[in-house]
Every structure is written in C-alpha cells, then in structure tokens.
Symmetry: C3
Subunit: 128 residues, 3 copies
C-alpha cells in the first residue's frame, strides 16, 4: 500500500504523457509524507473501448483510484488527496483548458483484516 | 461520476461488439434519469489471461462495475441498476443462451469526502 | 462471484507465467471450499505504464483484488484469503527472493442489494 491506478481513455494517449503522469503522481504521493516509498505503486491502464458523456470524439477522461489501508485520520487523507489532485491538475492543465475532459480521483480504503502483503522493497530502501 | 467499467474475457472479443455494449450501457444509464450526461464515463477492458469456472475454453464473463457518489436513495440505485442490467441482458442474449457465460454487475459507492473532480464537459453540455 | 483480478507490472511478463498464476489462484480458491466452481472468475491485467517505489527498473508488483458477495463470516474469509495468498507466495517464490518485488492481496465485499448476476455455467456444472 498505497495503490494508485490511473485509468484513461485511449484518445488521450497522444495528448498526455502517461508515464510522466505516473511519475508525477508518485512524486506528489511521496511528498505528502504519509506513504512509505517502498509501498508506492502507481500504474496506468488505457481503455480502447469507451462511451463518454455526449459521445463527442474529443471527450476524454482520466480517473485516479487510490487504495490505501484503513486507519489514517480523515483530515490526513483529505490533505494528501488534495495535494495529489492538485499535482494532477497542474500536469493536465492543457486538457483541462479544453471543454472535453473529465478528471476525477477518489480514495478507497482497504479492510486491514482482509488484506495481505509481502514486500521485499521496504528492507532494501530502509537500508540505503 | 458515474463510472462504468466493463470487464470481459478476451475470448468474447469476436462474439460481442464491445464498443456497442459501451454505447448501450451509456444509453441505459442516461435513460435512468439520475445521472448527468457530462459525468457518464463507460469504458471496457479486455483480459487476455483468465481462468474461469471449470476452465472450459468457451467459458467467458462480462462484469460491469459501476462507481457512483454516495447519497442517492437505495431504491433509486436499485431501480437504475436493474434497468442497466436489463439492457445488458438484452444486448447479450446470444451469449446468455449458451451454457458458458457469466454476466454480473454491481454498484460501488464513492466516499464524497475522499473524492475530487474537475469536469469541463458539464458547462459545454448545459449550454447546448 | 467471486471475482479475482490479478494486476501486474509489465516488467514481470517475462519472469512470471501469468496464465499459470491465474490457474493457481483458481485452484487455491476452489480448494477453500467456500466458492462455487461456476462463479470463479480469475483474470489478469498488465500495466505498461507504472512508477514503483524508488523507480528502480527491476521493481515489480502483483496485486490480487478479490471481490465477493457480503455475508460470509470474517473467520471464513480470513482463512480462505490466507490460503490463496499462501498459494501465491509459493508460486512467486523466485520473485519474492529478490529485493524488488511487492505482492499484495485484499478482499473487497460487494453489497448484495446493489449486485446483479446471470450465470449460465452453474446449471451445466451442477448437472455433471
């Protein structure tokens, strides 16, 4: 934990550098200070089939789903979420200047009692 | 909001017109009257690797995950969900006539306090 | 139900046999005895874009999201989850021996009142 999944419509592939967006979300997540580096996993998935709003061919969307373990205070989650969303807004300023774009993000919490993990990166990163 | 994600096993690619299914889910969602057009984002993702039920090669599945903001009454959600599911059933009648198909759908609610959005389509659509 | 979605970073494609991992998760799920065979749908999705931990190019992750209907006892879910996770650990022993890998899994419950399904495999499987 945490998991960040960036979903995007395929028509954005040529307009947005999705790998750089992954890096930017990671950077913003790290900067919040509430996530251990070794747990950050940002990934992006492209959707080739979609139907958005009024079906205008320029319509595109990016949705960022964040999944974290339960337990943090609401205020901390809201502050961290706002910072990450602000970073996405800055990164996607060109798309947001058009009238065909939807950006969304939400944080979902994972039940700690129904969660399992084994992460071999933490010890490597904490040694360095 | 709302988000509709259609997941499907790759073996259905040649049997089901997935782009048309996206359009049909959008149409049914609009028709419920409870979702603003500018917020509707239907997308589909194909899974190339899968293992379904008894592993019969004809086994296929389609799952529709709907994610909406919290706050609507249960009855409204159930009525809207039933209408969208019924549209999917009609669209997928051929697959459902076989004994190797699983269709499923569920509505997941998004915590409004942990949700952020910026949608430039609403104002364009409300002007027209 | 149940749904199993295996998410993995693209750099694992040549290191892990993802189809076999799907089979192994299915086998372990069946063996728990709490899931009907006809309902088991395991699938995997590859992420071509990602940003993991300290960005070391060897960093990879596999996340298994399990979605089941509400209603089972917590103990049953924990026992079943632990067994499936253990199967994944054994299958992924080589990756877990390196210091660049994160494996995670969680169980998410689906609200029965906001869930719909039509599965034509159950009757075929129960007949045989």
């Amino acid at each position: 934990l945490p998991h960040f999944t960036i979903e995007y419509s395929a028509n954005l592939e040529s307009l947005v550098n999705i790998s750089d967006l992954c890096l930017e979300v990671r950077r913003a997540a790290l900067e919040t200070g509430i996530f251990p580096e070794g747990g950050i996993r940002v990934r992006a998935v492209k959707f080739d089939h979609y139907a958005i709003a009024d079906l205008h061919p320029d319509n595109g969307f990016i949705n960022i789903l964040i999944r974290i373990g339960m337990g943090r205070e609401l205020a901390a989650k809201r502050t961290a979420g706002a910072a990450i969303f602000e970073a996405a807004i800055v990164f996607l300023a060109e798309e947001l200047a058009k009238s065909h774009f939807a950006l969304s993000m939400d944080i979902q919490e994972i039940n700690a009692e129904l969660s399992w993990k084994k992460n071999t990166m933490h010890s490597r990163l904490n040694q360095s």
